[in-house]
């Protein structure tokens, strides 16, 4: 296997290695060996603090992945409207694991299944602000103090954003849904 093949097969790891080398090189130029050493020790300490948090994150998300399927969320939220739909969407967002490559396709399916605008805005907001899977990582990097302040301040945002989206733009949901007709979620729905 050639070097190019190895790089192509591990593109993300290669990018990470290159950027890490650039960062370490910059530190070397800025402060020599001492700065590289002290920064590496700091990086190692952060890694040690993060590992238990990752284990906790895995323990939280594993049962969710096991017992809550995309179908279950689609059935629950597809036809839900009003405050109950927004509340369910917030909870679904908090528990649904995975990145934007997973939750946006799911939101697209919800849109085509009849979910309201407020429900969808709340789901995406809760996925990003209430995400239980992300919380241990946040605690690990940002510390308890900052994370708790951040969490308490943004706790009300997902439902409020959903309510406001529904109130001001909810009546346009049919045109938003029509625009999505030719989108990839239509392909997913009929596949």
């Amino acid at each position: 296997m050639t070097f190019t093949n190895i790089v192509q097969k591990n593109s993300l790891i290669s990018i990470v290695c290159i950027v890490t080398a650039i960062i370490a090189g910059s530190a070397w130029l800025a402060g020599g060996k001492a700065l590289v050493w002290s920064s590496s020790v700091e990086a190692g300490k952060t890694l040690l603090a993060i590992i238990p948090m990752i284990v906790i994150g895995f323990l939280i998300t594993w049962p969710v992945k096991k017992f809550i399927s995309n179908d279950m969320i689609t059935k629950r939220l597809g036809s839900e409207v009003g405050w109950r739909g927004i509340a369910t969407a917030c909870l679904a967002g908090a528990f649904f694991p995975g990145g934007p490559y997973l939750y946006y396709p799911l939101a697209g399916i919800l849109l085509q299944s009849g979910a309201g605008l407020g429900v969808l805005v709340s789901f995406v907001a809760a996925k990003n602000l209430w995400s239980l899977a992300r919380l241990p990582l946040e605690f690990g990097f940002m510390g308890y103090h900052l994370t708790l302040i951040r969490f308490s301040l943004t706790l009300v945002l997902p439902p409020i954003m959903g309510i406001i989206a529904e109130f001001f733009f909810g009546k346009h949901i049919s045109s938003i849904r029509l625009k999505g007709r030719s989108s990839p979620c239509e392909i997913l729905l009929h596949s």
Binding site: I13, S39, I50, L111, N128, L129, F141, M142, M161, I164
Partner: protein, 125 residues
């Protein structure tokens, strides 16, 4: 799994090296206590453009916070990067359309600044 491990190690490298490599004076001028509403807007714009998701944003917030920026800036940067990050737009547009994205960005932008302002009122210097 290998990719997640690589990203985690990379996040720790960012957190470890960031404090010594990010220009302290520039950060102080851009996000320091005297930066006011402009600091909140800069934090919002930074959150919008920074790529890499939580693996980059969390270490960045940690570094900035350790360098002395206010909680209001840290919270604004967090909300902005979670709610308004442009790098996630290519996932949102094909599945939900530009109209949905426009509504979400409009409301998200307003609430990001509002959250930052409320944080500044309660926790600002």
């Amino acid at each position: 799994m290998r990719n997640i491990v690589a990203l985690l190690i990379f996040s720790c490298v960012l957190a470890g090296y960031g404090a010594s490599l990010l220009p302290h004076d520039t950060i102080h001028n851009w996000f320091g206590p005297q930066s006011g509403i402009l600091g909140l807007i800069r934090a919002t714009l930074t959150g919008i453009i920074v790529p890499g998701g939580p693996y980059v944003v969390f270490p960045l917030i940690d570094v900035l916070y350790r360098q002395g920026v206010g909680i209001d800036i840290a919270v604004t940067l967090f909300v902005s990067s979670m709610m308004l990050a442009l790098p996630t737009l290519p996932f949102e547009l094909p599945f939900l359309g530009w109209r949905f994205a426009a509504v979400r960005y409009l409301i998200g932008f307003g609430f990001t600044l509002l959250t930052g302002t409320i944080t500044w009122i309660f926790f600002g210097v």
